[in-house]
């Protein structure tokens, strides 16, 4: 009885563990680009993703591109801000610790904005990819 009882509890425990693991992986994937893949044992991919996203952020900052934030009466900035926030920790470090905003009169402003927004969007895709790996849809 006891064994049978414990066997019936295992799937529930496993699904609970899987859910917690999934949440931890997704959170890590958002906060640190590539961390989700590293947690799933995809070392090579995780490191390369980290370098790619961080390079895009660094180039965007060097070019003084726009780190989007929500502006009043400009609803499209909500989408752009959500996209940029996809890069995770770098967004909050740049915005709240360094007070980074970008420089609209800089020669590389448009290019830099594209790099910064792309970094955020790439990391959002990485979160979805990590989710697929956790759920067994991808290798």
């Amino acid at each position: 009885m006891t064994e049978a009882g414990s066997q019936t509890e295992r799937p529930g425990e496993q699904s609970q563990q899987l859910s917690a693991r999934t949440m931890a992986t997704l959170l890590a994937a958002w906060l640190v680009p590539g961390a989700g893949h590293l947690m799933l044992g995809k070392l090579r991919r995780g490191v390369i993703f980290f370098l790619v996203v961080l390079t895009a952020v660094a180039v965007g900052c060097l070019l003084e591109g726009n780190l989007y934030r929500v502006l009043p009466n400009q609803p499209l900035t909500i989408l752009a801000t959500l996209g940029s926030m996809g890069m995770g920790t770098p967004y909050f470090i740049l915005r709240f610790i360094f007070g980074y905003q970008g420089n609209i009169v800089a020669a590389g402003y448009e290019y830099g904005s594209a790099f910064l927004l792309t970094a955020g969007l790439m990391n959002l895709l990485l979160i979805l990819d990590a989710w697929d790996i956790v759920r067994g849809r991808k290798a």
Binding site: I48, F49, A56, V59, V105, G108, A114, M122
Partner: protein, 65 residues
């Protein structure tokens, strides 16, 4: 930071190509193939578009508001 349009375009294409090659393909051979397709497609496409637009006059520079 050097502000060469060609260099920045190539760097952007490089980053995006590496990213999607690794995201969408799992085998090394397929990753390399997709990387080359994306990179050449983006850089080559941009150069082709620039070449096609070459005859059009660029006009006076837009004044900064």
């Amino acid at each position: 930071m050097p502000l060469s349009h060609g260099l920045l375009m190539s760097l952007y294409a490089l980053l995006v190509s590496v990213f999607f090659a690794l995201l969408w393909k799992r085998e090394r051979k397929h990753q390399l193939k997709l990387f080359l397709q994306l990179f050449i497609g983006m850089v080559g496409g941009a150069l082709l578009l620039a070449w096609l637009m070459y005859p059009f006059p660029s006009g006076p520079p837009t004044p900064f508001p």
